[in-house]
Symmetry: C2
Subunit: 575 residues, 2 copies
Amino acid sequence: MLKILRINTRTKEYAFEEVGPYANLGGRALTSRVINKEVPADCHPLSSENKLVFATGLLGGSTAANSGRLSVGTKSPLTGGIKESNSGGLFAQKLPKMDLLAIILEDKPAEQAPFSTIFITDGKVIFKDATDIAGMYTYPAHDKLLAEYGDKLCACVIGPAGETVRKTATIQFTDPYKRPARSAGRGGTGAVMGSKKIKAIVLDPEFGERVGPVDADAFKVSRKTWVDILQGHPVTSQGLPAFGTSVLVNVINEAGALPGKNFRQGQVDHVAEISGEKIAEIIESRGGKTTEGCHPGCVIQCSQQYNDKDGNYVSSGFEYETVWAFGANAMIKDIDDIAALDRLCDEIGMDTIEMGNTVAIAMDGGIIPWGDGKAAFELLRKVGTDDPMGMIMGNGVVFAGGAFGVERLPVVKNQSMPAYDPRAVKGVGVTYATTAMGADHTAGYGVTANVLKVGGDIDGHKKEGNVELSKNLQIATAAIDSMGFCLFVAFAVLDCDNGVQVMADLVQSYTGNSFSVDDLVNLGVGTMKDEQEFNKRAGFTKMDDKLPRFFETDPLPPHGVVWDYDEDELQGAKV
Amino acid sequence: MLKILRINTRTKEYAFEEVGPYANLGGRALTSRVINKEVPADCHPLSSENKLVFATGLLGGSTAANSGRLSVGTKSPLTGGIKESNSGGLFAQKLPKMDLLAIILEDKPAEQAPFSTIFITDGKVIFKDATDIAGMYTYPAHDKLLAEYGDKLCACVIGPAGETVRKTATIQFTDPYKRPARSAGRGGTGAVMGSKKIKAIVLDPEFGERVGPVDADAFKVSRKTWVDILQGHPVTSQGLPAFGTSVLVNVINEAGALPGKNFRQGQVDHVAEISGEKIAEIIESRGGKTTEGCHPGCVIQCSQQYNDKDGNYVSSGFEYETVWAFGANAMIKDIDDIAALDRLCDEIGMDTIEMGNTVAIAMDGGIIPWGDGKAAFELLRKVGTDDPMGMIMGNGVVFAGGAFGVERLPVVKNQSMPAYDPRAVKGVGVTYATTAMGADHTAGYGVTANVLKVGGDIDGHKKEGNVELSKNLQIATAAIDSMGFCLFVAFAVLDCDNGVQVMADLVQSYTGNSFSVDDLVNLGVGTMKDEQEFNKRAGFTKMDDKLPRFFETDPLPPHGVVWDYDEDELQGAKV
């Protein structure tokens, strides 16, 4: 039976505990339950009362395709609500091999305490002085860890943004290519890690054993069916592998839903310069890689390796939302500038969505010119230093809006919106409004039925059907995140009859515990309930489940659509 | 019948309207009703949908002692809730003489629009280009207006903090000595005026007629009784005139309730250096004035003129809360440094309470050393400039805490606490928690019964009786603010049998409308209802009616008291 490892970052005591009340939970279901049950909802996110939870999914450590995603949970410094931030990398699959379901960081040391690296091995936790890597960018810090622990390193690390407790700070995870390029990106999880004075966590590369399914025969059958499902759908087998997630740039622009210039327009003129097709062409011409997985066992391979003009590595995990945030919302046309910004965000440890939007706010406030990628780079480079401009930029859209006097702030619960205008893709707009996470496309990706016509065809310009769409997707997503699956499996699952059943079969045969389709749905519903309950105790009401008023008053070109839900209608998307 | 003047700051159109649904309201009752009825609760405070209301009280323009206070209402950029900020000066008494009950500023011009001065005269409103005073500190800007309009100037003006829409920005009003030294201090009203691109409002000195009571004989009798009441109480006739409001420094320190070092202690060692007695001694030795009124007709005279070592004017309206904020909470021992900071706040147009607390946060975050008044001055001088540190400091405690990574933030609804530790003066603590204004001592000053033993004797260390005390004071205060009285009349009223009746008689005889003690109470209750209703629609819940957790977990020296209310108990202080 897997254990939960609790680590007190002040006393440096630790305990490997039985799962107890957390039995049969994994991933997001587990992180959200722990946060809801153990963290005072009204505590300051950077106080000793907050906790930081890393949890593998129910299928963590298995060979089920695309089941190696990690959930990181905490009370968010950005939103003040509960947060699950989901990451690829090696961490989730390594934990079960070390007999661990989750790691919980608790308490915090004194303000002046030095940073530590936590080294976890067989039954032991060792705090190591991290003075040598404190203050460093994540790539060089990770390189130092690589030099110390070897090529099988499995780690997570925060950058200067996390160390200085910025509200946009990420935790960066080792990817399959020895880079800290995978992020628990949203909500400032890295700031919580920084407040606890932990620079890195290393899972002992020399310790761990392969984990097998309890019912090997049944698992083998389901596993094969599962791969067939993923490889049988055009989005997961063709669109995403060919062009990465940026395949969406043209698609969403075509739909008039690509937010431009701080959500003033639904299309941008320079779309051809930042499209997935263009990026793939550049990658190929420079000897990069158009397909990579964010974790072993991925059969979709939507990640990429983007190189500079000289063929040197710049960035990976270069997602559509990043390209959009800098490329369309901040109007930066040079894709090399955008790639450099992506890398900078990973180095300093900052959420690319929040930072792209924050750059747009700086442009809207006249701090730097619209579309100036170089100026944006210089602005973001200050984050994590003692430069007050870095303090501002590193705290995200609402904070920067307060500093620069900009009132047009595309946020819900203080978290800024990703790459889909809610006026034109109402299915995802309902999710922005109602998920406990703040504006988050991954919590219920209504783009499926609204734009891609996957799993149905619901008009994204109209209200009809979109509350139900969002609710169903939110439940499904919470379950997917709890099993450890990559969200993109949903594309394939939504378009086939047996997808959900196969996911349930995989869990049942892997864990040996009875797990039906009903159990899967209940897992999603239960997770959402934990999250809504926590936020309610933290003071959130239906008035926080709203979009900013400018979405109601300003029609979005070219289709002239507005946001026209009232708060009571939207409550239908909650459980 | 007085009129309401509505001015559209975008179109520059205006209208003198009948009071209509706002009949029989004045001061805070009027501003809170207008904001509640006319402003969308979920609008951005700096958006065109917000309004800024200046209202005279029911006794405005009368000769009733201490009835010349002004209410300024808006949706607060600091708290996100409703705000009434109360000021002395000449404005409130001038409005009725111009046949005006209130001025409402609406809408806002484009971002790039120049600043204007609004000149109001007989039936006309003239927008004048304010380029010559835009960007200027309030004293020199006010001097320019004095030069233009003469010694009978009656104006209000914002400083660079308001122009740059800082959340702590005040509106400064002409005092009886031709200085812009009276502030609508709390909640960022100056930022709303700045967002509407109004640098100053001038009420035509050449226009206006004396206003008389409708029932002159009855008014004369009540007016005399009223003066006797005020002059018969030791606080309003001796303590406040002799030493100004800083008479409280020793008193509150003695009670162990003077918050020191960002609310870590209830007493400070250097209290003798910043006491009211010491300040009066210095004022006298330097040829200043120990007694002044903030508006004509004041018989308490708690204001002062503080001079520097060379006998030159430094500041007035140098209140206890200012002395405390810089002197005790930020541990600045040099009273001349504190006076210079007070003046700087008036010049840039910033709330001294919020700024003193923000300086303490900067000290707590290691930005400047504890107690360093010169460093604090340099930090605050950046507010209103394009220096990012000024953007941070000018936005108050919560913002600075987010920038500097400080989690110990003594705020309710994002507004920081004034000079009374809620653990040791629970009567005012309940008010901090429950008033719609955010942490505000003036909304229900439980210091009366808790410390001064005025109007009763209720232990400030214990819970018993303090919810009721706060509720009653909150109702009374809302009524006092609505009639236009100075809050300090409460000291005298609470200790005599006929005080409330005389206030009601004054209103009835002045306005000619029936106004009983019940009407007075209902005026207070109705005002609070408007405020609570607005905040509820803006998303506030009982979870926002709480103090930060450190007040519960950290006992306050020297008495070791903690805050021990739960949120449901506190709801008893609301109407």
